[in-house]
């Protein structure tokens, strides 16, 4: 679960937090596209490093490092899978595995890390509130935006409730950590059922409260807040476009010249 820890928003004031979620999302998408375009180590390392100033400017180093740690196990799995499968599929009887295989597996791993890195920056520096607002102003139907913000709002409440139910059931002698895999999953049923029942009751009460406050009175809903695109957002958008143009240029004309880094590493 620590991967998700690294995505949890904390209210801080920084230039990065102030940016429009739409501009940040555009940036994340750009990084995503560039990361998928290349499967050599060098461009991916560059892509990884380019994002560090954002982390520092936002002052979310601690959370960011935690999310990276959380992702490291998955990253290791990705490396092993890529390495072993490709080795047995392509090169098997020859030994040792070729250096290009090494580079390829490392690059795939780094691609994953870059993706986690950029999404983590996005979620760490964007309040769910502003994200919901950005969704609304992107003409996504209000029902979806409302569902999104409400879900974010109730995640901690439900987590707390799950903990309470778990404690109550343990106090009655329920043992969660016993038995084989199937048995352990079955152990969670006495926790899930009260949790679901209470969530349904809660949602009914919510619906009542919404109705009582004129939900659906008009389809020209207004909003207390409005997102305005500021200078920083334009700058981020220009940086993103610049990165994209550069990446496409390199991909088209210089792909073959990108040096392999493995000889450097292995010496």
């Amino acid at each position: 679960m620590s991967v998700f820890e690294g995505f949890r928003f904390r209210r801080v004031l920084s230039p990065i937090h102030q940016l429009d979620p739409r501009a940040k999302f555009f940036y994340v998408c750009t990084v995503f596209v560039i990361a998928v375009m290349f499967n050599q180590l060098m461009p991916l390392i560059l892509l990884f490093l380019i994002q560090l100033p954002f982390v520092l400017a936002a002052g979310v180093q601690k959370e960011w490092i935690r999310s990276m740690k959380g992702a490291s196990f998955l990253a290791l799995m990705i490396f092993l899978f890529n390495f072993l499968f490709t080795y047995f599929y392509r090169e098997y009887p020859t030994f040792p595995p070729s250096s290009s295989l090494m580079e390829y597996s490392l690059a795939m791993t780094l691609r994953f890390i870059v993706l986690v890195e950029s999404f983590s920056i996005f979620f760490l520096t964007t309040s769910p509130d502003r994200l919901g607002l950005a969704l609304e102003q992107s003409h996504i139907p209000y029902e979806f935006c409302f569902a999104f913000t409400t879900a974010v709002r109730f995640v901690p409440v439900l987590a707390e409730e799950a903990q309470t139910i778990m404690d109550a059931q343990k106090a009655r002698g329920l043992e969660l950590e016993r038995g084989n895999f199937i048995k352990r999953i079955r152990n969670y049923i006495p926790i899930l059922i009260p949790l679901i029942v209470s969530a349904i009751r809660r949602s009914l009460e919510l619906a009542e409260a919404m109705e009582s406050r004129a939900w659906g009175a008009t389809n020209k809903r207004t909003n207390l807040y409005v997102l305005k695109i500021a200078r920083g957002d334009y700058i981020l958008a220009i940086i993103s476009i610049g990165m994209l143009v550069l990446a496409v240029y390199v991909w088209l004309f210089m792909r073959e010249q990108i040096p392999s880094l493995i000889p450097w590493i292995t010496g």
């Binding site: 509130d129 913000t149 901690p156 406050r213 004129a214 659906g216 008009t218 207004t222 207390l224 409005v226």
Partner: protein
Amino acid sequence: MDDILCESRTVNKTLAIINTLDLKYTYPGGTAPSLVDVSLTIGKGDYVILTGPSGCGKTTLCRCLNGLIPHFYSGKLEGEIEVASLMVPEHSIYELARHVGLVFQNPENQLFALSVEKDVAFGLENLGMPREDMRARVDWALQMTGIYDLRERAPHELSGGQQQRVAIACVLAMKPDIMVLDEPTSFLDPLGAQKIFEVIGDLNKKLGITVILVEHRLDLASEYANHVIVMDEGKVVLDGKPLDVFDSESARLIGVGIPKATRLYQALRQGGVHLDRVPVNSQEATLLLQEVLTRDRG
């Protein structure tokens, strides 16, 4: 003679803001009706306390007042109910919401935004109010309920008492004529409850909002009320001025939490000491006792 009666009734009708006649309601799938022959008249600007043992139909009556019954809960509704000159079954919940605000028991499940002011604005957003007007209205509601400083906090980080004040602000922002509060203090500590009663009392006194407060803690709440309704098993069993209701024998039998000052009055009366009036709170009781004592000495 008839003329005068007729006239007084029409006058009464214009001053009344809620009128029900033989209201009867059964929840879908329910065997027994939850409201039986409820006929009530509530005046404009009244402060009404609605009380009675749990399960007697108080929440059900509240749901009728803002149209959740019959629009959200189906089931069988008979009789007439008119609120703020609107026949409830003929108007949608959002139309009624401009006139009747409902505050629920559990503060947690009626706040759904990620900041207090956004929550307070929710109803106004739904009505499509322009942003500048909305800003002013939200600030006003926050100030009236004394939570202006909390406006940027997340509702789920607040204490129960603060949350309940946010819930009141949410409803107040829509400037309703009537505010219905269903056991708003049952999740709160006594101090938080006291604060809520003060806020509600202010809304009634300063803004003239008609208040219907469902409450068990009559000691604290009855200070402001001018009308008490006691229900039992879906029926209205007592309906009148606080003193008359609290002093009646049936209130005691039903187990209404009669204010301690009134109980003191009753005990004194049994012992042969007659106070001039029925007190509802300790200050009043003190005054009356002092009067009696000085009179005895003199």
